[in-house]
């Protein structure tokens, strides 16, 4: 089971974490929501919980709860610029389809 970060994602996460001043890493997960079933969750992590698994990627700790892991396994997290927007993008091999706006997805 793996989750990878691209160099630009690592850079942005480290910058965000140091700007925030606290937090042990980044928490990724999925929740049921949106128009197509599941939506991503991307948060600062302040603690490890018993149900969590963590990964290291270029010095960034990525924390995922076990429930979300199967949905995210093999995902690459990128930080990119699209037009005027900047943000994180999940490249998730488990995804079968997405809703139009890309907020939610299906496995």
């Amino acid at each position: 089971m793996t989750i990878q970060l691209t160099p630009s994602a690592v850079k942005h996460i480290q910058a965000s974490l140091s700007k925030r001043g606290k937090g042990i890493g980044l928490r990724l997960g999925v929740r049921t929501s949106g128009c197509s079933g599941l939506a991503y969750k991307i948060e600062y992590a302040d603690e490890m919980r018993p149900e969590d698994v963590s990964f290291e990627s270029d010095g960034v700790t990525v924390i995922v709860d076990k429930k979300s892991l199967p949905y995210l396994n093999g995902t690459q997290l990128d930080y990119r610029r699209e037009g005027l927007n900047e943000g994180f993008k999940f490249e998730n091999p488990n995804v079968k389809s997405q809703c139009g706006c890309g907020e939610s997805f299906n496995v």
Partner: protein
């Protein structure tokens, strides 16, 4: 869409309304209701059915089926198909009486019963959680996302162990339980709020296997339960059984094979249901022995043979009225709950007893879930969104709570039918000179002797300074929260030494068992994901089939015979795989159908464009 990092636990993007649902977790069937548009409505499954049979089957391949799909297995695979699990909630083997009356294999344990199934030992909490999961899935599909909170109903007579077990089952099913609600109270909520009526009401709840009666006072904005009573072994099934006995007497049949008993019970039940609408019902069956049964049951005869059952329900009714210190004249209305109250003789008996016709305008099978949905909606914070009034809900303790005192006697601290949440305290003292510890034994029940009551918890208060007997002042406080769960604390007043216990009902689950079950649910994350993918794909297949059939009916003329045959074949294969459990095969079939219909869809599009353009000049179209 690009995402940003958010603060942990930051609330989901604001939406107008939170998703709340009310769940009636019943003995024979369960259902879920919600208030998506501010009006309480029951939620149906993909086939439009409201009632989910409370039956869970553990299959050969580790698959778990719940509801209608599990029903046929009751007879064929009894040890792995569990019905009426509600009767086992929070119960130990010794509570069940004769455990052999159930077709299950029991594991030897001292705590809550465990059933041996082909997938290992399962306790009633885990089995109930499967039913709740099915309802949760249904609600989330219909409401379009995760539930923010639910209210689960329990019978008024459920003790702490049974309530705790119900709450744990909901937790295990991934539900956020806002609170547990007594079933009669839920029914009153459904009626009281919808009609804005005030006064004292009686809720008469005759289900498949149990009877409950509750007296409630609805007064301006407040619900209060005044008294509850019931009979846990009286229900609609007993009426079926009476008809069954009548058939045997009328025909003089010899002892029957098990399958014939089942057959005749089914026939009896349908005769009962027919008599709710007609004056006579045919009773016809062909037994495995070739014997033919052909009888006619009239409403009059049916009333006759079930008269004592109807009378039997009135005893608890009288007791509840006596407990509430009410006379018949003070009852403003009677609410009927439970499918069995559809029987005309019940309605008549209730009308005669209370000297007024009962309220029947809500579906008696749905009224509890509807009330729970209304309450869930209020608790989750949607109340302000609807125009409903602010209201409170008082509930009562089903049984008295007390302490063991010298000689094995019970000192009642909280009387039965006391409103909750509550806090009651009483002072006790030491019995012997120099006594430095006090054993506290919390019991539940109406009897005077500890041995006849149910033991809930034991704990000790130590460190009492040595004093003469009777000098220490020990204040013992009982506290019951809004869910009916109890905590007890003891404090020696002069020194301030304290001890307390959150009541782990004797047959509740220990923390380690809860942890184990939660871990198991994590370990099954992958299976859950696959199950989810399968269900989603099945829904997608259903949609495609329906859309295509609709299109064929409308524009079938656009296809030649060969094309039509190809689409029909693809649809048939898809429909067949829709019934199976093979995700990949289903996906392939779905893709195939999509391909087979692509050309057809294109032509339909062309046709509708043509229609839109017909009769218009080109330049006017461009201007549009």
């Amino acid at each position: 869409m690009l995402l940003q990092i958010t603060e942990p636990d930051s609330p989901a993007p604001p939406r107008e309304r939170k998703r709340a649902a009310g769940i009636d977790l019943g003995t024979t069937h369960s259902l879920v209701a919600s208030m998506p548009q501010g009006v309480a409505t029951v939620l149906t499954d993909e086939k439009g059915r409201v009632l989910l049979p409370s039956v869970v089957r553990f299959g050969e391949h580790g698959d778990i089926t719940v509801g209608h799909e599990a029903l046929p297995w009751l007879a064929r695979d009894a040890a792995n198909t569990i019905a009426s699990v509600k009767r086992l909630m929070g119960r130990g083997l010794t509570d069940l009486g004769d455990a052999r009356q159930f077709p299950y294999q029991w594991a030897q344990t001292t705590g809550m019963v465990r059933l041996k199934t082909r997938v290992g030992e399962k306790n009633p909490v885990e089995i109930s959680a499967e039913i709740l999961k099915a309802l949760r899935w249904r609600a989330e599909m219909q409401l379009g996302g995760a539930l923010d909170g639910v209210v689960v109903t329990v019978p008024a007579y459920f003790d702490d162990a049974q309530r705790q077990a119900t709450k744990e089952a909901a937790r295990l099913a991934g539900l956020n339980v806002l609170r547990l609600l007594n079933e009669p109270t839920a029914a009153a909520v459904a009626y009281g709020l919808d009609h804005g009526a005030e006064g004292v009401y009686v809720v008469y709840d005759l289900g498949g296997g149990t009877f409950d009666v509750s007296v409630l006072r609805l007064s301006r904005g407040v619900f209060e339960v005044l008294a509850t009573h019931g009979d846990s072994a009286l229900g609609g099934d007993d009426f079926d059984h009476r008809v069954f006995c009548w058939i045997l007497e009328a025909t003089g049949l010899p002892p029957l094979a098990a399958e014939d008993v089942r057959l005749l019970l089914t026939v009896a039940r349908s005769a009962k249901e027919t008599l709710a609408r007609h004056e006579t019902a045919p009773v016809a069956a062909t037994l495995s022995t070739g014997h033919k049964v052909e009888l006619t049951l009239t409403a009059e005869m049916f009333t006759d043979i079930t008269r004592h059952l109807v009378q039997k329900t009135l005893t608890p009714v009288k007791r509840a009225l006596r407990d509430a210190k009410l006379t018949l004249e003070e009852i403003k209305g009677v609410v009927l709950v439970g499918g069995a109250t559809r029987m005309p003789q019940i309605r008549q008996a209730v009308a005669e007893f209370f000297k007024q016709p009962p309220l029947v305008n809500l579906n008696p099978d749905e009224v509890v879930a509807l009330g729970a949905a209304i309450q869930a909606n209020a608790l989750v914070g949607n109340r302000g969104l609807d125009s409903g009034e602010d209201w409170l809900l008082l509930d009562v303790t089903p049984l008295s709570l007390g302490l063991e005192t010298m000689g094995g006697l019970v000192e009642k601290i909280v009387p039965r039918n006391a409103g909750i949440p509550l806090m009651r305290a009483q002072e006790f003292t030491t019995f012997k000179d120099g006594q430095t510890a006090l054993a506290i034994h919390v019991v539940q029940g109406e009897r005077e002797k500890v041995a006849d009551c149910r033991s809930l918890a034991r704990f000790e208060l130590r460190g009492i300074p040595p004093m003469v007997a009777g000098a220490a002042r020990i204040r013992i406080t009982f506290q019951i929260d809004a869910d009916g769960l109890l905590s007890v604390s003891a404090r020696e007043q002069t020194t301030g030494v304290e001890a307390s216990v959150i009541v782990k009902p004797s047959y509740g689950l220990g923390e380690s068992e809860i942890a184990r079950m939660l871990e198991e649910s994590l370990a099954h994350a992958r299976n859950d994901m696959q199950a989810r993918a399968l269900t989603e794909t099945q829904v997608e297949a259903d949609q495609l089939i329906e859309l295509t059939q609709h299109a064929l009916a409308e524009d079938g003329s656009l296809l030649n015979d060969a094309e039509r045959a190809a689409i029909d074949a693809a649809l048939e294969e898809l429909a067949q795989r829709r019934q199976g459990q093979e995700l990949n095969a289903l996906r392939l079939s779905l893709a195939k159908t999509n391909r087979a219909t692509a050309e057809f869809a294109g032509r339909r599009m062309d046709r509708s464009v043509q229609k839109a353009l017909t009769g218009k000049r080109f330049d006017s179209v461009v201007q549009d």
